[in-house]
């Protein structure tokens, strides 16, 4: 199979020892998008919400305070960079590490808000993310054990086997749990309702982009033809 039937023509590779970064228009676009959003997050202020006060006719402005703002911005930038890395890496284990990092900083971004409901969601999300590391790394390990390589460009040449299919299913479960916001926690509105939209954006961005990238990886691993 040729990589160019998935993401378009190969534009170039950056070999960093074992880890080979490769660029097709598809990877490059998502890489650029992740970096563009990260830059915007780094320079943006947060929005403030105006709420009606209970019992009076006054309004109250809810803002992100400075210490919380600093730590959340830092975590959001790390998350953006990890997402950008996960978009172009040509190494399966590298990809899983990036995904695990994304999950960790996403929990951090949510957990930095000092509200009971939000902390509750962060705790549950954290549990799922921790549980999901097992299938995530386990899947990558099974693929390594059965194919003998975790370089995606080499996995392209390796014929299908049941163990690779099994490994990639585990990998998919792992990714779904790690970037759990879109599939599992979308209903947890508390997480998205708090002020600090740039930081919440990166949670959503990282989970969607990683899912899109995972689909490319699954198609590389399991060749239907």
């Amino acid at each position: 199979m040729d990589i160019s039937i998935l993401g378009g023509q190969m534009l170039g590779i950056i070999p960093l020892g074992d880890i080979v970064l490769y660029f097709t228009p598809f990877n490059l676009f998502m890489f650029a998008a992740a970096l563009a959003f990260t830059t915007l997050i780094a320079i943006s202020k947060t929005e403030s919400q105006v709420e009606a006060e209970f019992g009076t006719l006054k309004n109250r402005e809810v803002k992100v305070d400075k210490s919380e703002f600093k730590i959340r911005r830092f975590l959001a930038i790390v998350c953006g960079l990890a997402t950008a890395g996960a978009m172009v890496t040509g190494d399966l284990f590298d990809f899983t590490l990036f995904v695990a990092l994304i999950a960790i900083v996403n929990i951090g971004i949510v957990a930095a808000v000092k509200e009971v409901d939000v902390l509750d969601s962060a705790f549950q999300y954290g549990l799922i993310a921790m549980i999901a590391t097992l299938p995530l790394f386990g899947g990558a390990a099974i693929i390594l054990a059965s194919a003998g390589t975790i370089s995606l460009l080499q996995l392209l040449q390796i014929p299908n086997s049941t163990m690779i299919l099994y490994g990639s299913l585990l990998l998919f479960i792992g990714v779904a749990g790690e970037t759990g916001v879109a599939p599992f926690f979308a209903t947890k509105a508390e997480m998205f309702r708090t002020p600090g939209s740039p930081f919440l954006l990166i949670i959503h961005l990282s989970s969607l982009l990683v899912i899109v990238r995972t689909i490319e990886i699954l198609l590389i691993l399991n060749k239907p033809f």
Partner: protein, 286 residues
């Protein structure tokens, strides 16, 4: 033709045709509901009009994100035009573009600080969980044709007949996706009138005009992908006729259905996605 000229021409066509199709959709909906309805070029006129309206930026907004996010929407759909009509590149890229479109909806809503926008932002995250599986239709196309490159899919169809006939469930899934992106559709929960204008509530004046510009391109591009991927090999007149037919059909559905509440909308979409994926894979296997 000069590449830049080609891109600008295609962007302009996408914007103009998309706007007029939106206008047509409102007109058809109005006639079904026995109202006279606005002129067909109303959406186009609105887009231009908003550019010269008095604009201000809310004090509560997250600057510069509040403005940059509108530019982001335009960037991704210009990218879609380049991937689509200009170079006929990879369908996977559309998947990425669509994912980023959901993120723009999310952030346009939340960056203003308005509670309506925030609700729309929450709904955008929520509906992403349903619309991204719908976009998995691309994988079914890949399984059928063995390629993700649009020009190769068109070639495949010229040899094996239209994909609309061989994988109809996938076409249905994509149609539901198109339907959920149209205004007043039963699945348009991010723009539901119960939350004023959803994520666009606080983007008024020129920013609204700018968003409408990008949305027109988005509508044109979604219809373009549907026609190219499922029918393929059409000439410009064929595209135009196909787009008018789909828009009219969408208008018919939108005119006679209410906007579903978020839970029902997402569950309907997920169910349709499940039926589509499972059904298509079963038909591909046998």
């Amino acid at each position: 033709m000069n590449l830049m000229g080609n891109i600008i021409l295609n962007v302009a066509i996408a914007f103009l045709v998309g706007s007029v199709l939106f206008g047509l959709q409102r007109k058809i909906m109005a006639r079904i509901q026995m109202r006279p309805g606005p002129p067909i070029i109303q959406h186009l006129l609105h887009t231009f009009k908003f550019f010269i309206k008095e604009s201000a930026f809310p004090k509560t907004a997250a600057m510069p994100f509040y403005i940059a996010i509108t530019a982001m929407l335009c960037v991704i759909w210009v990218a879609a035009v380049i991937v689509g009509p200009v170079t006929e590149g990879s369908l996977l890229l559309f998947f990425a573009i669509y994912a980023i479109h959901k993120i723009v909806e999310h952030n346009a809503g939340s960056s203003s600080g308005s509670p309506y926008g925030k609700l729309s932002c929450v709904r955008a995250v929520y509906s992403a969980a349903a619309e991204v599986p719908l976009f998995a239709v691309l994988i079914i196309i890949y399984l059928k044709t063995g390629t993700m490159i649009i020009s190769n899919i068109v070639t495949f169809q010229s040899q094996h007949g239209a994909l609309l006939l061989s994988i109809p469930l996938a076409a249905l899934m994509f149609f539901v996706l198109i339907l959920s992106k149209s205004p007043y559709s039963p699945f348009a929960i991010t723009k539901g009138k119960d939350i004023v204008s959803g994520y666009e509530t606080e983007h008024f004046g020129l920013l609204r005009g700018y968003l409408m510009f990008s949305e027109s391109i988005a509508w044109y591009m979604l219809l373009w992908i549907f026609l190219t991927v499922f029918i393929g090999g059409l000439n410009p007149v064929g595209y135009l006729i196909g787009m008018v037919i789909i828009t009219a059909f969408v208008a018919l559905i939108n005119a006679v259905t209410p906007i579903l509440n978020p839970n029902h909308s997402v569950m309907t979409q997920v169910t349709l996605a499940f039926i589509g994926i499972a059904g298509s894979i079963i038909t591909l296997l046998y």
